[in-house]
Symmetry: C2
Subunit: 196 residues, 2 copies
DNA sequence: CCTCTCAAGATACGAACGTATCAATGACAC
DNA sequence: GTGTCATTGATACGTTCGTATCTTGAGAGG
């Protein structure tokens, strides 16, 4: 019984990380114990122990993997929309919202990790990239889409990224409706960009 | 030894709640065990057990008390500034930022609770007031301060509240400087309001 | 056929968790 | 004095935690 039916030791870590995501999203990060993770992944606790040196490395790996996954999915969705800067800008902002089950789960997990990152430097490092790539991207898209006079693309991007993230969290709590959030985003894009 | 040296059973709950705040802010909510809370509060674990029916009620009480405390402090600070709507608006937004140790601790604690509220209805209820009082207040202040043509106070308030909160979280992570955040807020207030 | 190595099962250990139990203390009414 | 009641000390119970240990199975190389 204790032998590998599949010759793939590579997908095991991924499989376990996905179990962490589901538990963190549905029951919270504090419920992600080794035994619960193993049960959710459909493996024995020993398998979790074998593939990660300790729980801290496991949680870190799950966060890093989810972040890469999000970025990959986001780029795919956005790249399929062409090259119109205004369309890309809108899509980039909407990527921050929990508009489907995948992004809803991801945002819940990331929120749990973010809170823990305030007291865990290893997790904090994942959230602290060099510079502000997302804000820079949004600012560049604003400039490329053409902005109205006396608009500062950088300052607009700074508030937009934080603001849309906040609206996304409100969506998680059902404190706002999706339609209202999208209307707020449209208002501000119309306000910032020149051509209607 | 096991007797009350002070005849004040009223402040005990408060004293214990403050211990929760310090632990949650400095080490995270998952470190707020009954024994740690008791040690931080300078009492025996039995005292914690006696004044709260269980840990869930304790954590809920600590959250509710901190929220009231924040609102009280915020109102005090803002009320001391007079009645100029523009000044009040700026102060209301800055109240969301971790500009001193008190607010820095509070924001860290609230962030930890917020994450947990995603999987805990009792905690979520604390964050879900009726309507959106903060957004409504900001919108009212924008209108009172006088807004430029074709500005929607409600939509501006929606993005401002979320955006400034996001900037505050960036401050916690030292991802932005305080001066940069304040400059971003100034930019948007100048953009929204009519008179320079 | 043998052996070496990777992967996993089975189990256990010490620590820490939330909570329960029982006794003891001090303040106070009478 | 002497009960009474609110509060606290001291201790223990059962559970769950992360992790360590030992063993077993499968496939590859010689």
């Amino acid at each position: 019984m204790p032998a590998p039916a599949e010759p793939e030791p590579a997908g095991r870590r991924r499989q376990i990380a996905e179990a962490v995501w589901r538990i963190a999203a549905e029951r919270g990060l504090q419920m992600a114990t080794v035994r619960e993770i193993a049960a959710e992944a459909g493996v024995s606790p020993r398998v979790v122990q074998y593939h990660f040196t300790d729980k801290h490395h496991l949680l870190l790996y799950a966060l890093q993997t989810l972040q890469k996954e999000n970025e990959r999915h986001g780029r795919q969705r956005i790249a399929a929309l062409g090259h119109d800067p205004r369309v890309l800008l809108r899509a980039t902002l909407e990527e921050l919202l929990p508009l489907d089950d995948q992004r809803r789960m991801s945002l819940r997990v990331m929120t749990a990790y973010y809170a823990r990152s305030l007291t865990d430097p290893a997790l904090a490092a994942v959230f602290l990239h060099e510079g502000s790539p997302l804000e820079d991207l949004v600012a560049a898209l604003i400039s490329a889409a053409g902005l109205r006079p006396s608009i500062d693309a950088g300052r607009e991007a700074d508030l937009l990224v934080g603001g849309v993230s906040g609206l996304g969290l409100d969506l998680l709590h059902r404190r706002r409706t999706r339609a209202d959030v999208l209307r707020t985003i449209d208002y501000h894009l119309n306000r910032i960009l020149s051509s209607g």
